[in-house]
């Protein structure tokens, strides 16, 4: 009777050992058995799970294209079943949930690499999760391709095994100012006063730091920062925030917000009659098609960089076909961040195919030196620089006009001309 405590404890721990043991046995594939595993770490539960689940659909779309035969889509891997250079080996994406928690991201990265023997990792959407997860990849010498994590800090760490598709927030900020300059010059929009509204977390704060830095280079163009409003990461109302913005009466508002808070802001702008000339949003809430669905007409005239828009489907047949497959799963059109994660899945598969093996060194060699065709992006191609950043900005400036994300800038990919002014809220 004395030993019942330890007996129970041993029982529990042995059970868990056994559990984790079988996890290991299940997953010791010889790399020749025709399945190549790639780990995808995403926020599948918690506050950002709405986006995480869509990223999962996008990656599943990529898996379907790679493994099935889709001769109608003009992509290297879509036409053949599996990876042709690896005897038609199939690619399997193993999904893991990081719950927006860096600790979990790290442990999932380790598990995927050591237990599941994945050849590469993609993810993680949250920059705070991508940081530790890519550290793990670096330590094990496994390529990591980030899709939509946008913090510039990620590619400033000098990691050898890290690459990223999406433009980082520094590039986005530059794009914002160039766009405003363009509006001022071409449409005489008279934009001077800028307010930055951002969420109080890694994403928002970093975006604001980039604005502070970048605005120095645009002083000559007359831009000035008149307000910066930081709001808590979990917010029950944005009344006070909007009062502050209204008091500053900015011409342009830069938003670093997620879909929930962004929508609350727009409703409050309307209620409080805040009428700026331009609202530009970092990759986040605005890019989510739910934004238009939830706000209807009120979503018009908002703008932001986006890797894609449904208005471009006509111009880009490949994108339209990818969207068909995606939409069947997700029920909505593919959006920017989602397409970037789709791209990360395609690029890593293509790199493995071109390397002809899953040997990490060879795959990295291909990733760093080759250029990848990306007919689903406006830029049409992907190439990683020394620091791992995709040198071609995958984004175009979009503006919602009549409920459609229209590409408005640069002029070469324009589907509609930009409208550099908001009409009064009651005159829509």
């Amino acid at each position: 009777m004395r030993k019942i405590g330890p007996v129970l404890l041993v029982l529990v721990l042995v059970l868990t050992t056994a559990l984790s043991g079988c996890g290991q046995n299940q997953s010791q594939p010889d790399k020749t058995d025709g399945v190549i595993k790639i780990g995808a770490i995403l926020p599948l539960t918690g506050p950002a799970s709405a986006t995480g689940v869509k990223l999962k659909y996008a990656i599943e779309t990529a898996q379907e294209l790679i493994n099935g035969e889709h001769p109608e889509i003009d992509l290297e891997l879509a036409k053949t079943a599996g990876l042709p250079n690896l005897k038609g080996a199939k690619v399997e994406f193993i999904f893991a949930d990081h719950q927006a928690n860096p600790e979990v991201a790290k442990s999932e990265a380790e598990r995927l690499i050591q237990n599941e023997k994945v050849a590469a990792l993609i993810g993680c959407y949250h920059s705070s999760a991508t940081k530790p997860a890519s550290q793990v990849a670096e330590r094990f010498g496994i390529p990591f391709v980030a899709g939509s994590s946008s913090s510039a800090a990620l590619t400033e760490r000098g990691l050898k095994w890290f690459t990223r598709i999406a433009p980082h927030d520094g590039m986005e900020t530059k794009l914002f100012f160039d766009y405003l300059k363009y509006l001022n010059e071409k449409y005489n929009a008279g934009i001077r006063k800028i307010a930055v509204v951002y969420i109080d977390n890694e994403y928002g704060v970093h975006a604001f730091q980039m604005v502070e830095k970048e605005i120095q280079n645009y002083k000559a163009d007359g831009f000035e920062l008149v307000a910066d409003v930081k709001y808590p990461a979990n917010v029950s109302n944005v009344d006070t925030e909007v009062q502050k913005i209204k008091a500053a009466a900015p011409d342009a508002i830069f938003h670093a917000s997620y879909i929930g808070d962004m929508t609350m802001f727009v409703k409050k702008y309307k209620e409080m009659n805040v009428v700026p000339k331009v609202v530009l949003s970092y990759c986040g809430g605005y890019q989510d098609p739910q934004f238009v669905k939830n706000l209807g007409k009120d979503a018009d005239y908002f703008a932001g960089p986006n890797a894609t828009t449904s208005a471009l489907f006509e111009k880009m047949p490949v994108l339209a076909k990818i969207n068909e497959i995606y939409k069947a799963k997700a029920g909505v059109d593919i959006d920017g961040p989602t397409l970037e994660d789709f791209a990360s899945a395609m690029v890593i598969a293509e790199a493995i195919n071109r390397a002809g093996s899953t040997d990490p060194a060879k795959v990295l060699e291909v990733l760093k030196n080759h250029e990848f065709a990306a007919p689903y992006f406006v830029s049409g191609k992907i190439k990683f620089g020394e620091d791992g950043q995709n040198v071609y900005s995958a984004s175009v400036m979009t503006q919602i006009q009549n409920g459609v994300y229209e590409a408005v800038w640069p002029e070469t990919s324009q589907t509609k001309e930009p409208i550099p002014a908001f009409p009064a809220w009651d005159k829509r």
Binding site: T45, V53, Y231, T240, E241, Q243, T263, E271
Partner: protein, 284 residues
């Protein structure tokens, strides 16, 4: 400008109050911390949302239905879970309700996906009152008025009905109430149900202007904890005034000290007030 901020703060505060009234009831009567309180709020918002989407029912029209749904849900929570832990030491009930919260939240994600949803058109959407430079959104105004009405309804119920008086008796001493022939079992279940109905109403009122997603209740329940403690456990008037005080301090503090601090200020106010009133504003 200042008037505008004060008004917005008060309106927000009344909704906090209603959420807190539900919480303070069971806290005061049963000494149970219900971690799933905010999740009942979320369930109510989804109820309203689905009635609106599938049957085109206006959120205000479906308010009684939402209240009924959360009443039943709360009632069942008591019967199935709380009943078993009410006599357990200290924090066991907390453990149970935490598990429940986790379950409800993820069940919502399982059933309805984690997407953010909004009710785009309703009787009150986009309407507003303009008085000079002061603008008041009708959804917020209706929510505040609804909260006040519901709070008074609860107060009236507790003061003037037989069941209400039994609740008061059970709150003061469970054993004495039992000796007096009160079926405490039934009283507790009803109290839990009323608490649920309170968040049900609050959820329906919020649904017209707040995003609906599986985690929408989380922040409200955290604030409700503070408001309940600020007002004094089990004190409905305390919860009402506490809510308004929190709404105000959030708005004013946020405006003058930086909006990122608005919830930190709320917590600071709590700590300060309790230095002078260790049992809350209305505690005894």
């Amino acid at each position: 400008m200042l008037l505008q901020i004060i008004l917005s703060g008060i309106l927000v505060g009344f909704v906090y109050s209603l959420v807190a009234v539900g919480l303070t009831l069971i806290w005061g009567v049963m000494d149970i911390i219900n971690f799933a309180h905010g999740d009942f709020l979320m369930v109510s918002m989804y109820t309203v949302f689905w009635l609106y989407t599938l049957l085109r029912l206006d959120p205000l029209a479906s308010l009684p239905i939402a209240a009924l749904v959360t009443f039943v849900l709360s009632f069942l929570t008591y019967k199935l879970i709380i009943k078993r832990v009410i006599n357990a030491p200290g924090l066991t009930a907390l453990l149970a309700t935490f598990g429940l919260s986790l379950f409800i939240r993820n069940f919502a994600q399982y059933l309805w996906t984690p997407n953010y949803r909004f009710i785009t058109t309703s009787l009150v959407t986009d309407k507003k009152l303009e008085m000079g430079s002061v603008i008041i959104g009708i959804p917020q105004l209706v929510a505040a008025l609804g909260s006040i009405m519901m709070t008074f309804l609860v107060v009236w119920f507790i003061k003037n009905t037989k069941t209400g008086r039994a609740i008061q008796a059970a709150a003061q001493s469970r054993d004495t109430a039992k000796l007096m022939g009160i079926n405490t079992e039934k009283i507790y279940a009803v109290t839990f149900g009323i608490s649920g109905a309170c968040v049900g109403v609050a959820g329906a009122l919020l649904a017209t202007f707040f995003p609906i997603y599986p985690e929408s209740g989380a922040l409200y329940s955290l604030l409700a904890f503070v408001i309940v403690a600020l007002g004094g456990f089990g004190n409905i008037a305390g919860a009402l005034y506490g809510g308004v005080l929190i709404g105000l301090s959030e708005a004013l503090g946020g405006f003058f000290l930086g909006t990122q601090f608005k919830y930190a200020i709320v917590f600071l106010i709590y700590l300060l007030v309790l230095q002078f009133r260790p049992k809350g504003l209305f505690g005894w």
